[in-house]
Assembly symmetry: C2
Homo-oligomer: 132 residues x 2
């Protein structure tokens, strides 16, 4: 695999298959519609369910619950239930969740840097003949 600084299969013992598999595993954690927003929100501190619901804005309760459950299953978010009269539930980032903000911010920075490049319209889809 010729990708940047990653060692090849010969010496470093990293196969393309593993790279694809692992990369997709992370992406699967993040590609849900509201995952990033919730993650960034909790990075600002612990929140109650209703607080997250309010701060995210347009999300439905069902989607929020699904998102939080998924993040919890992936070990990125911790859920704590306080058995009080009206139930209180608090969500926060786990250490694992925190460790993921690094790569996540790297993605953001890439997008910010290459914003116009990525936004500029591609050349029309015509047959492009190579120079003779």
């Amino acid at each position: 695999m010729a990708v940047s600084a990653v060692p090849d299969t010969a010496a470093g013992e990293v196969t393309d298959y593993e790279m694809v598999r692992d990369t997709r595993r992370v992406l699967a954690m993040l590609s849900r519609k509201w995952s990033v927003e919730v993650l960034y929100l909790l990075a600002n501190g612990t929140r109650r369910y209703s607080a997250v619901l309010y701060e995210v804005g347009e999300i439905s309760k069902k989607s929020l619950t699904r998102t939080l459950r998924a993040l919890e299953r992936d070990g990125l978010v911790a859920r704590r239930v306080y058995p009080e009269v009206p139930t209180r539930v608090e969500y926060s980032l786990t250490p694992l969740g925190w460790s993921l903000t690094g790569p996540l911010v790297a993605l953001y920075e890439w997008s910010a840097e290459h914003a116009q490049a990525a936004a500029e319209p591609q050349r029309p889809r015509l047959a492009i003949v190579p120079e003779p």
Copy 2:
């Protein structure tokens, strides 16, 4: 925004909204089922359509075409058509595509490092009472 090394809105002028927006923009480019695999494949060198189809393996032609078109629209992949008898089409990474392999590999490395942490079963979903 308290996320790692990113400056706050006050001084650095980076809003949560922009971070969420830009991060999701990149994720949208990558979250398609076969995007990563195709990207890694083309990182190994230019490929013809049929070569990609064969090397990826289980992908359908329809999905591959859609994936390539999407990657092309996002400016990550270049498409070159040779007007020959049986049509020949070659796909390769653009400089923008190459620049994305960095953050992408960062994701892979995170996944590789935290593989068991992410894989270990979460504690059963019971009410967890905070220490008194």
